[in-house]
Subunit: 317 residues, 4 copies
Amino acid sequence: MARPEIAKLGHVALVSSDLEKSLWFFKEVIGLEETEARDGVHYLRAWGDFQHHTLSLEAGDGGQVRHIGWRTKRPEDVQAFRELLEQDGVEVETVKAGTTPGIGEAIRFPLPSGHQFELYYDVEKPKADEHRRSVLKNQTYKAWAKGVSPRRFDHVNIHTDTDAALTYDFLREQLGFKMREYVRDDDGNVLAGWMSVTSLVHDLAFIQKPSLPSPARLHHISYWSDDSQDILRAADILKENGLRFIGPGKHGISQALYLYVMDPGSGCRVELFTGGYLIFEPDWEPVEWTLAERDLGNTYWGDTVSDKEDNNVTIMA
Amino acid sequence: MARPEIAKLGHVALVSSDLEKSLWFFKEVIGLEETEARDGVHYLRAWGDFQHHTLSLEAGDGGQVRHIGWRTKRPEDVQAFRELLEQDGVEVETVKAGTTPGIGEAIRFPLPSGHQFELYYDVEKPKADEHRRSVLKNQTYKAWAKGVSPRRFDHVNIHTDTDAALTYDFLREQLGFKMREYVRDDDGNVLAGWMSVTSLVHDLAFIQKPSLPSPARLHHISYWSDDSQDILRAADILKENGLRFIGPGKHGISQALYLYVMDPGSGCRVELFTGGYLIFEPDWEPVEWTLAERDLGNTYWGDTVSDKEDNNVTIMA
Amino acid sequence: MARPEIAKLGHVALVSSDLEKSLWFFKEVIGLEETEARDGVHYLRAWGDFQHHTLSLEAGDGGQVRHIGWRTKRPEDVQAFRELLEQDGVEVETVKAGTTPGIGEAIRFPLPSGHQFELYYDVEKPKADEHRRSVLKNQTYKAWAKGVSPRRFDHVNIHTDTDAALTYDFLREQLGFKMREYVRDDDGNVLAGWMSVTSLVHDLAFIQKPSLPSPARLHHISYWSDDSQDILRAADILKENGLRFIGPGKHGISQALYLYVMDPGSGCRVELFTGGYLIFEPDWEPVEWTLAERDLGNTYWGDTVSDKEDNNVTIMA
Amino acid sequence: MARPEIAKLGHVALVSSDLEKSLWFFKEVIGLEETEARDGVHYLRAWGDFQHHTLSLEAGDGGQVRHIGWRTKRPEDVQAFRELLEQDGVEVETVKAGTTPGIGEAIRFPLPSGHQFELYYDVEKPKADEHRRSVLKNQTYKAWAKGVSPRRFDHVNIHTDTDAALTYDFLREQLGFKMREYVRDDDGNVLAGWMSVTSLVHDLAFIQKPSLPSPARLHHISYWSDDSQDILRAADILKENGLRFIGPGKHGISQALYLYVMDPGSGCRVELFTGGYLIFEPDWEPVEWTLAERDLGNTYWGDTVSDKEDNNVTIMA
């Protein structure tokens, strides 16, 4: 049997201590569309997302992420992953189809770092309501209806203060993530890795920090826009809505043009970005950045992502 | 053994009846970089291309394309493809490593439509000369050195006046291309298909025409830029260099923002474009456009790609 | 006494046969803000306009323009213009302050071509409501609240089928417009002139046509955006709202990047544009375009403004 | 006789301690065109500048600015200004026509702050060489030939550590500059003023500093680009050329999107920018920013212009 594979990042399940504010932020400011709201949970996606939702929002104590969902390549991969993980001593939970609207049977399990992942194959790809639907058959919603209006969900960035090496191995060997770029210290330890199962430079960034407000942190989720100008327009929109943010700037690593802004409801940081490159070479050699090169890797130019505002506390349950 | 797979589009080998003019066009106007010139053949790539070259240019009678090269996913895929193709009665030619600078052992064979394809795994990914090299470790050349300066080679668009169905089957079944979007007539025949082996909507567009100047035509090759503004800047550059072009416009199919301009040396058309979307869904259902929807599919808005200037005669040997 | 001078274009008073549709078009699609509605007239302006309104909309029979308003440089210029005009035999009407909300005492008179002009000095520059107000002290509204969201009113383009020479002389000699660019036929007659009282290439384009649906036509009004990308985003927005338009394209004359779209309520055409250049040279020599050069003057590149859709019938009363 | 008036900013005469490096910076990186070089002085302008040159560069000890040149509205204004200034006790020097290539008879005099101004009316507006000339009749050079390629010279920013009030009065009363925006301290003293004779928010910014490396400093000269994307492209170009810079960011005051980079030869800082707004209202009330509002005025968003790199020492002789 073929090794099971992850096809793509699916969604993030977010809990907000101020749901009203989070809904305002994600729907009016960022401009996500709501597929549906059920049992107090709001299911959102960008105008170019196909899957039922790429972000769910519900009320709860403290900003937290329940899990990060990924879609497998084949239906049978979900069970195949379960077997592989259980063989490896990982505790795997089953989630019945329909537990989450739009998502079929799933498994959930923690990374060695404690971050909760969910894997599933079946997803609904509902059409948009007619008045919000694009005239294009290959686009879910009309673009530019409100707010920043990014095209699609792109990646997640998670932090650990445990030994990252275990988790890098797990991501690579159990889950099939390929390392695309990384920062290593002078002893050869990987401190930050940008990994993907797709042609994107990263679907997942995994970064080791000396200490964190919570052992397993979601640093940010990221939505992708088509044009640099969209990011500058986003800066105007965020500023006029009274939101503080970092950027614009351009990373050396991944070559992404970015803004970082925090959801005032959940404390979850959102990266609005464009640019970057795609990796189609099958023998991609991970790009290594030494500590001496890390500054250029972090910031090709622009407003720096420093530790100055690095205070979001989105823990993972 | 796993089915052999194609990883990505590699390069196009172009013959120009006016090499001087083609070099001016591709190097100064489009802004491609020259990796090397050997035995009268010039090997070019964009600043973000990693492979040795994505376009080769040599002098010869009439504009023609020798072959379209593709890189396989694994080293053993080249021989595996040979076996599969020969089992199917396709005549396969072997090309020894190094015949083309930067490219390892390859096989060549015609599609049912007559277009010549080349498959190989081994490629060199030479660094740029120091003074042209980017300060970024993940980028080959400094961007914006000259001309339009697109980031990377993207796709090819080829035309046939034979029965396209045979070739669609061949592309899908022998070579593993997935259909992403297509136009069909009222009898259900596919007239145009956008196909890919990557997350791009198309690495290859294959289009049936009632009649053509040559049985197998390369309609255009395409280089990708990051931003819409790059395409508008390209329009200024082309105009100031005395080149006629079609666009800017935006396709419905693939959602690409485009310009089409012809190399005055070879007659090969080049699409400069950005935008579009990526397909990560493993169960992507090809988007169908009927004849009635074809106009929207061709032109979401802007200057239309009509038959008015559809006169390039880039044949395939 | 100093010669009276016009400082800037002020506003256009538009009558729509389908006010509901016009309000949807200008407020939701174009994204203008409403300063106030009084006595059935809606007063609109762009987010960066300072004056009370730059467009008024009211219901009436047939699309028509009541008048085009201009602001003088000094308070006393209004009366000085009246005297000059009356000396010249022009019939001048007085409009009492407050007849139009936000606008002080004005005079109205026809150009030789029949187009009705209004001149005034006093205008209100009301602040925006607090929730729509920009955080910037030099900007009226938050930008990007809805629709295309252009920055400011820019110019008007009017057509005549009478002898244009009389009107050019009038605009130049009575009103102080400077010719910036023009098209002339082989006999030296000016067929189209781009004229301004500001540093813009044109506040007013005046164009002679062989025949028109009404003797004095407003061809289009124009709102200005900051970035090329704004125009491409506008194209998406117009298309998704079911509106047909011409462009994007770039004029040679004025170097403007444009879209042309018609208000479905009034039939008034709106140009959305950016780019262009500013004229600060005090001895600017008007740029002459011969008939042979007119095509390049009309279209540097892109989708052409042809006569194909040149069917709007916005007459001037 | 009418009061003499300044029409526009003309040019800056810069002395570089490393002319070679300055020429590389301004010609290859910024992408200015050279009209001519004579007697060791290089005369440069942007592709959209009409005047003979907007920057002159010559070798000399230390980075310095000889003078800032302005063009008057009428030929007779030069002598009228001389009379006004001399009546006011200002020492005025006459410069014979042709002393500076392309510039007619001029007068030179110091501001109260010591900055040397030059006024002239006559300028040559030479066409570009044929191979560099735009196909457009209203544009001097082909755009995008090399480097950042801004459209035109825009403004100068000068600093003083003397009592600024004297100079503000002089600029307003003697030279006719209008205050557009300003920062004042809690005692009502103007600390920074953005002033213009055109519709730009500023042709001249004049800023008081507690202490300076030289009594009269040129802080920066500024070239304008059409699009936001041009500024981001400029950031890539500067970075790849090994140049440090501040930005991208957006000022609240003037609403300009900016980069600041220093010529490594002369130490003269150059602002590359776009955006901003135009002032056509004849009764513009200067926008006042208090000390409490200064941060927003300086930085609407983005990488801040702090004092951290505020070390250029371009003195005025």
